[in-house]
Amino acid sequence: MVDLVKNGVSKQELLNRHGSVLALSDVNIDIPARRIQVIMGLSGSGKSTLIRHINRLIEPTAGEIIVDGHNVLKMNENELRGFRRHRASMVFQKFALLPHHTIVDNVSYGLTVQKVPKQEVAERSQKWIDRVGLTGYENHYPAQLSGGMQQRVGLARALATDAEILLMDEAFSALDPLIRTDMQDILLDLQEELHKTILFITHDLDEALRIGDSIAILRDGAVVQKGPPQEIILNPADEYVADFIKDINRGRVVQIGAIMDGEQPESGPAIDQGMVIEDALQVLSQAGTNTVIVTKDGKPLGSVRLDKMLAAIARPKSGTSRSGTYR
């Protein structure tokens, strides 16, 4: 079967002729350490399968998963268990808490599995319960908490093992929008302090743009584009991606540095290149001019005029690839 795919048999052909579904093929992603890598795709694009390959909850048919130079697929049962216990922990879409355990027992589950001494388990899990803001709920059962709180338990459970890799499978997708934003804030807060390598799966583009340091877009089991959020918005690789991003609020995502040109105007407010257009517009309207100077670490780099900003946040016509329009 693997050979068929390597010889170029298409997904549809494989399904029709052999009854096998090609879930993922030719997915090569370098995940940056200590950053948030978002894998984004619609349902059926293979993203949940992909994340389960990393800790081998689903066994890949072929390929390699290299973590710090070690191939996860070559690990024997014991090494794999060690990898799951100490290196990579996971947060699930539907929380997947143990319903018969209290919150504190859920948070300490990973440590209990490792047979860490009781005293240490209690201290470490309490620390994370406090950190995610669930102090006082230690002896409740999961069913007694709201969805958002349950997912905080899921997050605390994953963090309690001190694994440096965090696999988050649509972790916030089951929550309502306000709570979801809350949870994203909690995650970003934690990340600022912990610097974990996070693999975050989502189908929500806004979420991807908000938390991702790097995004890979998955379609039908293949990566259609990968790169930082800016690049994906400004240079969608194909119509699929362009269609995908046409409805997002560009003003909140596109940074001023990405649309500047080299001219150096004599006057105007100076802003950092990392500022998003929405904020830059505010600076402009307060300053009463229509050109800003873009700086990096305080040194001027170039400038952006108001009409350029407006063009950048305008919604592109659907179905047209805008590759290279801005650069």
């Binding site: 909850l57 799951r84 990579a88 539907k94 997947a96 808490l97 143990l98 599995v113 069913a143 007694q144």
Partner: protein
């Protein structure tokens, strides 16, 4: 067109030989291995006799107190405890105490036996679809085949007595616990199991920490069903020499003693209701964690 009107059957002589062959070979088998199989079940017999003697010889107030305490521990309801005490007092008053104790002994041993065989079998079944497809039809047969049919080989093999009676009860009472253990473990939320796996839980940690605890309500429903079916077999078991409440019922049938039959029958019903209520409310208490804070 003779074969259309009359079903084409085996030659009468051939059929007779065929039956004779089966009978003789089974007789041969039981003659050769009967003693061995019987001694294999000896520990079971000793345990059953010991328990029966214990129940019969212990002063009745002590038994009632112990049962009342068990009812309280199981059900945590004064209502059920009071009902249990009253039932046993009435049973004793109508002179059925010793028979009830015998029945209690065989039901307890049969239930323990079914649990110790059924739960591991159910766990194995939940692990393998292949085993499930083999065991399920066997369980179907065990549940539907008329009890008298398997009494014949059991009696041929082991004679008349407590052990064959116990086996007959177990054959009938085993399927629900196996089925419900298998079902309960298969129904455990896949994502929760994945979560346990993703934290590096070993096979044992998954089984005893996640699968069995979450399947417990179903397993308990199985235990409850097993007890009920064991009680239902009491009368049939008494046909092959098991003492207890079944024997007077049997006597009542052959002599048309209405009152005797009714009283002993009602005593069996009382036992069934008591066991059912206690084990059901115990099973419900195991699921307390499912209640949410919103009083649902």
């Amino acid at each position: 067109m003779n074969w259309l009107e009359k079903f084409p059957t085996m030659e009468r002589q051939e059929l007779r030989d065929f039956k004779k062959y089966i009978d003789l070979s089974f007789k041969e088998f039981s003659r050769t291995y009967g003693d061995g199989i019987e001694s294999f079940f000896d520990p079971l017999l000793y345990f059953l006799v010991w328990l029966e003697k214990l129940l019969v010889n212990t002063p009745w107030p002590l038994i009632i107190i112990v049962i009342a305490i068990m009812a309280w521990v199981g059900a945590r309801s004064w209502y059920i405890v009071a009902g249990t005490i009253c039932s046993f007092l009435v049973i004793g008053y109508f002179g059925m105490w010793v028979d009830t104790m015998s029945t209690l002994a065989i039901i307890s041993v049969a239930t323990l036996l079914c649990i110790s065989v059924g739960i591991p079998l159910g766990i194995l079944m939940s692990r393998s679809d292949r085993l499930q497809s083999i065991v399920t039809p066997v369980l179907d047969v065990m549940q539907t085949i008329p009890s008298f049919v398997y009494l014949i080989p059991v009696v041929m093999l082991l004679g008349i007595g407590k052990v064959p009676g116990l086996l007959a009860v177990c054959i009938y009472a085993l399927p629900p616990i196996v089925r419900l253990t298998n079902l309960g473990i298969r129904l455990v939320d896949k994502e929760v199991l994945e979560a346990a796996e993703s934290f590096g839980a070993s096979y044992r940690q998954k089984l005893f920490g996640v699968q069995i605890p979450l399947a417990l309500p179903n397993i308990f429903a199985g235990v409850n069903q097993t007890i009920m079916m064991a009680l239902a077999m009491v009368v049939i078991a008494s046909m092959i020499g098991v003492k207890g409440l079944g024997l007077p019922v049997l006597r009542a049938i052959s002599n048309q003693y209405l009152a005797l039959g009714m009283l002993n029958g009602l005593a069996i019903v009382a036992l069934a209701i008591i066991f059912d209520r206690i084990s059901q409310s115990f099973g419900k208490r195991l699921q307390r964690h499912r209640e949410s804070a919103h009083g649902v």
